[in-house]
Symmetry: C2
Subunit: 329 residues, 2 copies
């Protein structure tokens, strides 16, 4: 099977690639070719015996979407996107990459299908940013999408296109609404959500971290490993039973900041917890107040999607996957 | 005030225009200029003393959206759209007109706002086609949009764009999800929904009509006059209290075909009812089975939107507005 990953150089893209190569296949079939595209050329994965084509491209640029599907991939993971903060800061870029890039990819597939038999499976990463406050206590699978960011709007539009193109038989798509990814590896960043990972990642590495909100703030989390698991599981599903409702909120863990800190204490001790510096930031607190706290993702659970069920597990995943099993700076 | 109507030559467009001219103003302000655009040039309305510019254009064609807003209308009724059946039959045309045309109009407004102070009010006609079965008994204001047609998909995307552009202060928009319009004036057509109007309109004109479904089929209706009332009321509302949730399901009347026929009997007698010929059509019955039956449009009711509350009223509106007050062929 030939697999295309867009956004293959991103954090989730690289982890997905590593998982696919380690598994050797996906959806019960061997992977013999990989196409990897991102705005910077993705690294070909070590240890993969099949054919790899990796190149740098913006799918919203003329001809690039057609080039991405030229080799008729059987399975497409469409992860490429401008992130939330950037899509809010740069209106044109967000709509161009997140909306036009997605639509052009879908159109490139449709163009092939007009003259030959071609209809790949597509796994599209959406986000809980398609939802906007006010929320019920737990957000159900039939709750409406009223995003409060341009990024969320672009993802919600991508979901609608995915469902319509799937309904019309152009491809076989599934949209995966990812929880906030925690613990996000890498350097601290200025994203409003950065502290959810930072208050764990930095102390686990012996570094100080800033907590800008109160301990009662609750949010919806899953590890990078769980996120990759969702994508791989989605690729293996028979999507016909989804009917026209192709977009699913993924399972996650609803946890307060206080619960995150308690889990850190259990796994890494009081010393780690003492590295968290409280520095209230009303701006960040106000942004986070509009975010989802908890979902009731029955459809996804019924289809076998699974996330972590404790924050200790989320922390242990980070220690295993990012720190070589060892805590401390 | 300067008012632009896109789709001004359509059924609702013409009735809206007549109402605005009869009222002389809208939202408490006098109308001194009208811009009217449609794919065929709209007729300038008789009896209007202000400036009228009417022209034929497809808003999705290059430059046409910019031309439509060149005169900086204060209020825009964006009604232009390819209808459901055509958008399903012609994929490219539906997406071009309903999605690209709408986005280009919104972008033309944004382009003006980048260099000057410009941010009109926009009333956008959406549709209950943004919803797709299965449904709860009554569809609430927070139910998700999973359209089963490309038309419904395009309208749902228009709603998302409208909300995001409004949130960002580019314009001040409201989306109005119209019920099925009944009694639709004019000739019988091949739309799957045509019989809902046909079984009343044709007998009221002394003509035979075909009923392809059972009397227990329930659907969600409002008269053309009520639809125009929604648009005019929307134009007069302060939209700030809507926050980011700019799209509203309009009130309507949930009625079975049997209730429609009973109302026809009350208003026009047994002779009219005998003109309805039962000719079951399983294809039409299957399509209609996927349509909404009833809504619980609390937000719109709370904002003062009103539809008919009996089918006799819907029939009387037709007799007054289309038949000069007289029944019979």
């Amino acid at each position: 099977m030939h697999v295309l990953i867009t956004g293959a150089a991103g954090m989730i893209g690289r982890k997905l690639l590593a998982r696919l190569v380690a598994d050797g296949g996906v959806a019960g079939r061997t992977i013999d070719a990989l196409s990897l595209v991102d705005v910077v050329a993705p690294e070909p994965p070590p240890g993969f015996g099949g054919r790899v084509t990796a190149w740098a491209a913006d799918l919203s640029a003329p001809g690039e979407a057609a080039r991405a599907v030229q080799a008729r991939p059987d399975l497409i993971f469409h992860l490429a996107a401008v992130v939330s903060g950037e899509a809010e800061a740069d209106f044109d870029k967000g709509y161009r990459v997140n909306l036009d890039g997605t639509r052009l990819l879908f159109e490139a597939i449709r163009a092939l299908g007009l003259t030959e038999r071609y209809g790949p499976k597509i796994v599209f990463t959406s986000s809980i940013a398609v939802f906007g406050a006010p929320f019920p206590e737990a957000i159900g699978d039939e709750f409406f999408t009223t995003p409060l960011t341009s990024y969320g709007t672009q993802k919600a539009i991508g979901e609608l296109l995915l469902a319509d193109y799937s309904r019309r038989g152009i491809f076989d798509g599934i949209g995966i609404r990812l929880p906030t990814i925690c613990i996000r590896p890498g350097k601290p960043n200025k994203a409003a959500s950065g502290f959810f990972s930072g208050i764990l990642r930095e102390p686990l590495a012996g570094q100080e971290a800033v907590l800008p909100v109160g301990e009662d703030v609750m949010h919806w989390h899953a590890s990078p490993r769980a996120a990759v698991g969702f994508l791989v599981h989605a690729a293996s599903l028979d999507l016909a039973p989804l009917g026209a409702r192709r977009n699913l909120t993924m399972p996650g863990l609803a946890a307060t900041v206080g619960e995150q800190i308690a889990a850190l204490r259990k796994v890494a001790g009081d010393g780690a917890v003492r590295l968290i510096r409280r520095e209230p930031d009303p701006t960040i607190a106000a942004i986070v107040a509009g975010w989802p706290r908890r979902f009731d993702p029955r459809r996804a659970l019924g289809l076998g999607f699974r996330a972590e069920t404790s924050f200790e597990d989320i922390i242990r995943v980070h220690i295993e996957d990012e720190l070589g099993g060892r805590i401390g700076g």
